[in-house]
Amino acid sequence: MGPSSDDIPAFPFVRPDLGPPPEFSDLRKRGRLQRVRLWDGSVAWLATHYDDVRALLADNRFSADPRRHGYPQISPTRAREKRQELPFFVMMDPPDHTRYRRMLTREFTLDRIEGLRPMVETVVNQLIDDVLQRGPPVDLAPHLCLALPTMVIMNMLGVPYEDHDFFQGRAGRLLSTDGPPGDATRAGDEMREYMIGLLRLKAQNPHAYDDLMGRIIVDQIQPGNIGYDEAAMLMVILMLAGHETTANMVGLGVLSMLLNPEAFATLRADTSPETVRAAVEEMLRFHSIVHFTGTRVAMEDVEFAGERIRAGEGVLPQILAANHDPAHFTDPQKLDIARTLMSPHVAFGFGVHQCLGQPLARMELSVVFNTLPRRLPTLRLAVPLEELPFKRDIIVHGLRSLPVAW
């Protein structure tokens, strides 16, 4: 299809460093569902209203499976990565998705994650010790933001931490929106092969491992519920989710504090769980970093918001737009850590695919924002804001580096 002569806007919009693209508020005023045009000329439905985003994400007539005809691909790179024999379960629909997800749900209950808090506190304090020892300026992106969730998820799964470089490099390639052809698939395959090897090794004596991998071997592989390839798929998605999302959220959260001295002062003075929790929720809402999370395709004709979405048409419910909908969040463009949420934000998505690891992410973030302001009370940016490199070529928003001084 050639250049369009109509007024259908091209999507995705350029995301500013902080806050949502201005197009969202324009489109929100125009109506509930808008047509947008993707790079391949195809047209999909964009939703920007909070209630609509939630309704679409909770509606199982829409599929999350990129192999389905009409699934809206946001870039050529992503379009090429759709043919996996065994996709990640986040790209499956019920009942397959339900079966895999339920093998993991008990690992991420709020109680179980709360039990990991002392371990996370130890890790955060060690990492801050290391930052202090290095002396200013220090780039927090590798030394705190990425190191923390990497150490925590590897500890939970039972993957040796010395292999973190292997995973970090491949995680970046897998999530890239403009890498070389086939590179994302190759990176994913290498991670799966690694996990199959480690699972087989542990399977020789699985009860010796008090970790998620040991339990998956005993509870799922040995009874014959799943094979090694399926277990490896589960482990890789947990590794990925643990790497990129929390790391980016820690970085943007710290930046938010440095740009809002009053908020930073509040967190220095008041480390009560309620204050820290409200601040973390506001950072999650404001940044909504996993902004492409809700990409779906209709499996049947659906009447919605006065339009007929036909089977095979893509829908793009935007969590970043929903979380900045002024009908639900007063002055949404303002980062207000004392905000009382009248509506639950959708930074972790909505529907059956809502983030499984969110209690872990929240706990890690709460430890960071309970500890960092106290231990580095004079923290400041070591470079001007305009020089901070934001990620532009990956499906998760974040900072490539965050140089700080104190």
């Binding site: 339920r102 690992e107 709020l110 529907g351």
Partner: protein
Amino acid sequence: MKIIADRSKCVGAGQCVMVARRLFGQSPDDGLVVINVESPDESERGLVELAIRSCPSLALKVDE
């Protein structure tokens, strides 16, 4: 007011527990919802409604 949870819909996201820990829990066996207080006091209706609205898989409702 009686809380009804459809465990076949539950995805173990824990939103109900986060909103109202006294009323909801998660089974340590499968991570899915358990109701701690089946018929909460009328004074907790706001909390129950927030839990229902927070559930991503629409697994909760109240029977009046």
